[in-house]
Symmetry: C2
Subunit: 320 residues, 2 copies
């Protein structure tokens, strides 16, 4: 059987862009940009929980890096270096080749160097560590939101959830929207350019991985604020068109995870700047609500003028 | 059931020493020391492969960090920041508390901040990312060894293998040596101070995780050298005393993994400096051979004056 070292060398050795030593030693080496902070996160994806056993390995390679690029983007930072730890049930060269293709496609798209990793036999598990940089003191954290700030979300949250329900036969997607929804689930596009552009604009930010409401709850907790969401401003039209069901569309938009859109807050004075950014990046940015004093909690302001409390429904990997 | 976020917060939130933001956001933030390179590695430990299902969780917590501290030490770098990604079959608070105790005991012993992580349900899998720093250009790599350099190993390689064989009933350890062997397996002591002290002294270095010969092979490949090992210089006496079997002792010393001793090369002119280091650190350092031209391969020079070729027997996670 091919040895571990051969496998790694063959599939995960490609030229790097900004790394002094990648692979082949006890650790990777690189120099950081003076005046910057390191920004580092890790995500672990488990077969049967985060992805299906039959997921296309190229898609999986893309997504395993993309979700980590998204974490760095959500700090307003630039993604730069990644490490990949893989547990695999067998040394399947075809699977590894396809996975590596997807992984490197994402790495190339976002200027990321794969600098190291580990490979072992075991139940399939992908753990990616992502390192980026941000000018010192300019990271966009979760604790900077203030009452009166606007609440924004990028792109189209909810499509990945519709795709998941489609794959589970819980609904049938309209053929005209199906591919876009499946792409959102399998090939999420982390909002890397937007994240960096929002430095000095957004007051708080995170990426929506577990659902808009659940993740918004983290900003509310960290910043000690409440939020009112404006139902009429939610980007639901495309979701309704895709699934033909307003209730499901609302559920996907507010509680569906896995789209990796950015959810951020900003003072009202930044509305023009954000509109310009949306144009420059050709990316819709939706002002879906506003922050309130913490005692107001989380509410939904409906088209008929009524206001009702909203539960925070996020996806929790130990209570779901 | 306790939520994922509560679990993480409860067990893995402690004050940090040199980190700007740890936990509670999309990524951790820290500043690096000017004039230094980042040194980063990741290790994935899988239940049933790298540890037994019934391994004491406190020991496992210690070891999961210690093996990563060892990788950083093997570059001549100072360990500083760690991230922990955990897949667990259930949210067992007692197990997590014990694991965290061991993990933090190691973190405190080596001045490491736990700065972030991920927790999910799944077959038990521990993935630790370790970041350290080294003055730029002073990392000790695998490719710096030259013919004529001495070959050194720290401490007592082989005890962890004896402990493993003891636990598998393949041999019975002498009661007077048993605890030391079990400690080597369950609570390995990464040679962090030695790694840093060898900057400017050693020409190449790595830590012995898969067995002395197998890991030495990486230095031989990277540096394009051969090596002659002197049988009479191998630190086998304590191993023979522990297991009462010279063959097993030799096998443990040369092919046993998991002790995390440092294997390094240095010009003969450094012998006095290395002897002083051994005294200062109260750590035996054994000169077990010398590097040769690559064509000479890997040989064992026996007490009777004969020389025989040695196979590189390392532990390979996909061919073992």
């Amino acid at each position: 059987m091919t040895s571990e070292f051969d496998l790694i060398r063959r599939h995960f050795t490609r030229p790097t862009r900004h790394t002094d030593l990648a692979g082949g030693d006890d650790a990777a080496l690189w120099r950081t940009t003076p005046g910057h902070q390191l920004v580092v996160s890790v995500d672990m994806l488990v077969e049967g929980r985060h992805f299906f056993a039959n997921t296309d390995p190229t898609d999986l390679g893309w997504k395993s890096l993309a979700v980590n690029v998204s974490d760095i983007a959500a700090m307003g930072a630039t993604p730069r270096w990644a490490l990949l730890a893989l547990a695999l049930p067998d040394a399947d060269a075809d699977w590894l080749a396809a996975f590596a293709d997807g992984f490197y496609a994402c790495a190339d798209a976002f200027g990321v160097d794969l600098v190291g990793g580990d490979t072992t036999r075991g139940p399939r598990n992908l753990s990616v560590t992502m390192c980026g940089e941000v000018p010192t003191g300019h990271a966009i954290r979760r604790d900077g939101a203030r009452p009166g700030d606007d609440l924004w979300v990028s792109g189209q949250p909810g499509r990945a959830a519709l795709a998941l329900w489609h794959l589970r036969d819980a609904l049938t997607l309209d053929p005209g929207h199906r591919d876009a929804c499946l792409a959102a689930l399998h090939r999420p596009q982390p909002r890397a350019a937007l994240g960096v552009a929002l430095r000095g604009v957004a007051s708080a930010m995170l990426d929506v991985s577990d659902g808009l409401l659940g993740d918004l709850g983290h900003i509310l907790d960290a910043s000690a604020v409440g939020a009112q969401i404006l139902a009429t401003q939610l980007p639901e039209a495309a979701l309704i068109a895709a699934c033909g069901d307003t209730t499901r569309a609302r559920q996907a938009c507010l509680s569906g995870g896995d789209d990796y859109e950015l959810l951020f807050t900003a003072p009202a004075a930044q509305r023009d700047a954000i509109a310009r950014l949306s144009t420059e990046l050709a990316l819709p940015l939706h002002r879906i609500g506003a922050l309130t004093p913490p005692a107001d909690g989380l509410t939904l302001h409906a088209a008929d003028g009524s206001t009702a409390p909203l539960a925070r429904r996020g996806f929790d990997h130990f209570s779901a």
